[in-house]
């Protein structure tokens, strides 16, 4: 894994814009990277202290992928997500207190307590849904892109998926449709090295997911997913191409999840401590913070204040979730149908 990421040569990252993000954008990136980290680490603590928040998949370690991509999108653009979706939600602007309430199964949650971690959705934030059926979100992003094209809205859709999902047929069908219809889609593969416990080397016959882009006549890039600027740059180029009507792109972000596949997964059954330590050594947040401080445009206090603000946000989110009401039994029967049937129902 590690060697693969390091062997990722800059020559593969072709056609990127060399623009530098504005100061506000950089701050926005830092704020969201750390907000995701704070959310996930607090969630892990809640799980370990026995708070029943259901099945969760921590995003810790991969933050630069979600934030780097969403930093290049407009609020009106769409994303579709995976089971490991908290980071994508936060990066796309879903409110953390409503997410936390959803995890607590409260009626104030994003999905009114009917979704849970694996279905968090905020259609107004352009977040088409966390989707735990591997690969399905990718097809939905293609649909949103089709909608944008037919309705001529200039929106783009980004489909996040893991390297495990790269093996399911739906993803390939979706890529082919997007390519033949020249849809404004970004296929963003977060290659974290493992599909649950199955290593990518086992499941993939080619070195990179991005290699598959050629089969669909679209550009494919592999970037360092621990480098938020690299992710952002690749996304900016892909978005520009999409908005011009030139069709989809595939961006493969080489990344690493720090924790297990889900809250109960013991990573040491399939990963070495050495590999994990090496990955943490390239932590996307620490690297980005160092870069920001190095350039002198930001000072320590400013970033510390942002960290403290995020901690407060998560404190508030937990308090909000705990204080929120539970759904009523009658809510079981609401929203089964979008249009209620005309006949009498029980």
């Amino acid at each position: 894994m590690q060697s693969k990421t390091e062997s990722n040569s800059p020559s593969r990252i072709a056609g990127l814009t060399q623009a530098v993000p504005a100061r506000e954008k950089l701050l926005w990136m830092y704020e969201h990277l750390t907000l995701i980290r704070e959310f996930e680490e607090r969630l892990k603590w809640l799980v370990e202290t026995g708070v029943p928040v259901g099945a969760v998949h921590y995003y810790t370690g991969q933050e630069a992928c979600a934030v780097g991509v969403c930093a290049a999108l407009e609020p009106s653009d769409w994303i579709a997500s995976t089971h490991r979706g908290h980071g994508h939600c936060i990066a796309k602007g879903v409110e953390v207190h409503r997410m936390m309430a959803e995890l607590y199964g409260k009626s104030t949650g994003t999905n009114r307590g009917k979704g849970g971690s694996m279905h968090i959705t905020d259609i107004h934030a352009g977040m088409l849904g966390v989707n735990p059926i591997v690969g399905m979100g990718v097809t939905h992003a293609v649909g949103a892109a089709l909608s944008a094209k037919v309705r001529r809205t200039r929106q783009v859709a980004a489909a996040f998926f893991g390297e495990g999902a790269a093996s399911i047929g739906a993803v390939h069908e979706a890529m082919n449709l997007a390519a033949i219809w020249k849809l404004p889609v970004l296929f963003v593969c977060e290659n974290n090295g493992y599909a649950q416990s199955t290593p990518v080397e086992y499941a993939l016959a080619t070195p990179h997911i991005a290699d598959r882009a050629a089969a669909y006549g679209m550009p494919g890039l592999t970037v360092d997913g621990q480098d938020i600027i690299a992710v952002w740059e690749a996304t900016v180029a892909a978005v520009e191409r999409a908005r011009k009507g030139q069709g989809p792109s595939l961006i493969e972000c080489m990344t690493y999840r720090y924790h297990g596949h889900h809250q109960g997964d013991d990573t040491h059954r399939y990963r070495t401590r050495e590999e994990e330590e090496a990955a943490r050594g390239r932590d996307c947040i620490r690297r980005f913070r160092e870069q920001l401080l190095e350039k002198g445009a930001f000072d320590q206090e400013e970033l510390d204040a942002m960290d403290a603000g995020n901690r407060k946000k998560i404190d508030d989110a937990v308090a909000f979730a705990e204080a929120s009401p539970l759904p009523q039994p009658a809510d079981l029967f609401t929203d089964v149908y979008v249009t209620e049937p005309e006949g009498e129902r029980e």
Binding site: G129, A174, W181
Partner: protein
């Protein structure tokens, strides 16, 4: 109630008209599927001679609405149905054709886990105005029927696996009239609706269809023939089999009522229960295989809620628990017919063989 002209249209033409009129009304409606345009709607052919799917239901739409709204797809049910789901979540009203219901195996997740559940599991925040049209059924042993002799993987009647999923509406038109009305209702519904179109009816059935757009309500069964002695409850093509049986039964003095279910989910229990409360007897006729079927579901509901009104056991007439056979002679045995319905009715009265 219907003032404009009424013409004789085929079942497939009625659906075509429904889609065409709705597409004129609402620019967000798009049609997607394999060969819905035909020949990929190629410009050098003038977009005219589209194949238009197995029932010709989408034929010629590309001429009027262009290739951006009438989308031929590659053979990728999971992909394009997923695109339909995503498009429905984000501002379009897609009508997706799965050529034959037998192919839902290729895209079942999009139906079962995605389209059906989105609205509920997202707490009601997304609408999903998606129509899935698909052809089904046997030729009933008749070699001349289009799609006849298609065998086990292209002749099924998969009502139960669709009706079983909460959140989906599943409608089964039986005439050209209700095919148009139910299709329009399906298109106007803000949630996912599956329209099951019988291949036999698709090209054979003809009937009066008003020119104007109109709706037939989803979730309502219809009593298509009044009778006093027994309720024959039919779905899709089987409604016609029930009527055929009722004609024959009348000549021996048994006055059968025929209920056309029209929507298998959500089922209109009230109409069926009301009918049985008058006739005291029920025979459900279903072209699907019987285990965990609509026939047995309807029977169970009536046994549960209409028990005190029953004067005889509830009978079901269904296909057997076998795959659909190829040979016409076997397929004729497989598909429920009027003779089996009549024999089931006889068993309720203790008459006949």
């Amino acid at each position: 109630m219907i003032t404009a002209g009424v013409r004789e249209l085929s079942f497939g033409q009625a659906i075509n008209e429904a889609i065409r009129q709705e597409m004129r009304r609402d620019p967000t409606i798009v049609v997607m599927g394999e060969d819905v345009a035909g020949g990929a709607g190629r410009a050098h052919l003038g977009f005219v001679d589209a194949w238009g799917g197995p029932l010709r239901a989408t034929r010629g739409l590309i001429t009027e609405f262009g290739p951006e709204r009438v989308l031929d797809t590659p053979i990728a049910e999971m992909g394009f149905l997923g695109a339909g789901v995503g498009a429905a979540m984000s501002g379009l009203r897609p009508i997706v054709e799965i050529m034959f219901v037998d192919l839902i195996g290729c895209c079942y997740d999009q139906i079962m886990n995605q389209a059906a559940k989105m609205h509920y599991m997202m707490g009601g925040q997304v609408d999903l105005p998606l129509v899935i049209r698909t052809a089904y059924g046997t030729r009933g042993g008749d070699n001349r029927t289009y799609g006849g002799g298609a065998g086990a993987q292209h002749s099924q009647t998969l009502y139960a696996v669709l009706a079983h999923i909460p959140g989906l509406k599943v409608v089964v038109p039986s005439t050209a009239y209700n095919a148009k009305g139910l299709t329009i209702s399906a298109i106007r519904d803000n949630g996912p609706v599956i329209v099951l179109e019988h291949k036999f009816l698709g090209l054979r059935a003809k009937g009066p269809v008003p020119e104007d757009a109109y709706t037939v309500p989803i979730g309502r069964a219809q009593i298509v023939r009044k009778g006093r002695d027994v309720t024959l409850c039919g779905i899709g093509r089987m409604t016609h089999i029930c009527s055929e049986a009722a004609d024959s039964l009348l000549s021996e003095g048994i006055d059968a009522e025929v209920v056309d279910v029209l929507t298998i989910s959500p089922l209109d229990e009230d109409t069926i229960l009301e009918s049985v409360s008058r006739t005291r007897r029920l025979v459900v006729v279903d072209e699907d295989t019987p285990t965990a079927s609509m026939a047995r579901d309807i029977a169970a509901r009536v046994a549960d809620k209409g028990f005190d009104d029953l004067d005889a056991p509830i009978k079901t007439v269904t296909a057997p628990d076998t795959p659909v056979p190829f040979a016409a002679v076997l397929e004729a045995h497989y598909t429920p017919g009027a003779a089996q319905v009549i024999s089931a009715v006889h068993s309720l009265f203790g008459t006949g063989a």
